[in-house]
Amino acid sequence: MCGVCGCGEGHSHLHDDDHEHSHDHHDHDHHDHEHNAAHSHAPDLSQARMVQIEQDILAKNNRYAAENRRYFGERSMLVLNLVSSPGSGKTTLLIETIALLKDDLDITVIEGDQQTARDADRIRATGVPALQINTGKGCHLDAHKVGHALEILQPKNHSLLFIENVGNLVCPSAFDLGEAHKVVILSVTEGEDKPIKYPDMFHAADLMILNKTDLLPHLDFDSEQCIQYAKQVNPRIKILSLSAKTGEGMDNWLRWLKAELELQRIGYA
């Protein structure tokens, strides 16, 4: 996986079971050799000059993401990047989903949190492999960390990989991990205007899951308005409503997952 790896950043930690792997690697970064002919050698170091860069700020992450995507494609895996604000019920949704699917499918999970391995522990209790990435001061997972998680997890061909991103509706939107889809989870206990308050995330997602629908009778949450806001930010977004707790709507989510997995198996991109 390290074809483009330049890991010198030893600040995140991977937790596989109860062990902690330190994350310091030798540096073998491959540079883009975009030589500017006029300036590429024997510069006069005392004189200021201009150099053209024309490079995306996230170019490095995007290279790792492309590498991850190639890896997933070779294995016909379905990989979903689950994003939401803290407390939307992502982990509970995952646990319930795994419980319903694990007899039929190979599932692995990458958990991203700033601190603790609690979520990965909860996932492992369901019997599927899970790896915790603590991002430390980072507010999102990046494609590089995910690439290293794959080395440890070794997911199977035709498997389903859930990447539960750090609970944050802002930062993860910009970081491609190589996933097939970003799935944004919004619980009805949050405001219906979240899609326009945090438009970047809803713009980046392909599917929105409206979770905790069992609580709707107790709330003033306007589902139709929420869906309209989401469509306003992203006309292509699809929406599923469900309650991970009661199971209402879970069948549609499972059918969506199986259909998407089937698309990966036929090499549909």
Binding site: E34, A42, P43, A48, R49, I53, E54, I57, C139, Y198
Partner: protein, 196 residues
Amino acid sequence: MTNLPGADLHLPEEYMVGIACMTNLPEADLHWPEEYMAGIVCMTNLPGVDLHWPEEYMAGIVCMTNLPGADLHWPEGCMAGIAMHEMSLCESILQVLEQQAEVQQYRKVKTVWLEIGVLSGVETDALRFSFDVVVQGSLADHARLEIIEIPGQAWCMPCSRNVVVQQLYDLCPYCGSHQLQVNSGDQMRIKELEVE
């Protein structure tokens, strides 16, 4: 961006750039005047900190480090949990500057020109603040940051034309449709450098 007169929170001059808040925080201990409301953001509650705010404000805030001399302190352990989107972008920028230094043979970066689209979700004041912090002690220490703002543009499907948009949730200014495909204004690019 500046000191916060009238606010309960005071920070030393060097931290004044880049801190702000998206909205007032009713029920929070921390208040500042309306004019400072554009820009910062907090990720999570801060255990052990005197500063608390309600759950719905939890998505977004941020501070980079302890603030010596400021009234606001939190325990060292909390420092890891406080972060900033713009901070990580600046780390990515610095990586490119360092990598290009070998390729393009320079030792010092004096000015960095960025193209930042208005739809990129980047808060430019926070970006400037983070940049100054991130490049300290690097080849770009004290470099000037020039931000070229790229307007938002989207293709309106019903109108079959490009229209200007300020926000991702904007409707077409001509037909009112939300069937818009953004085709410019979401970029974050390093355009060029002045180096020596």
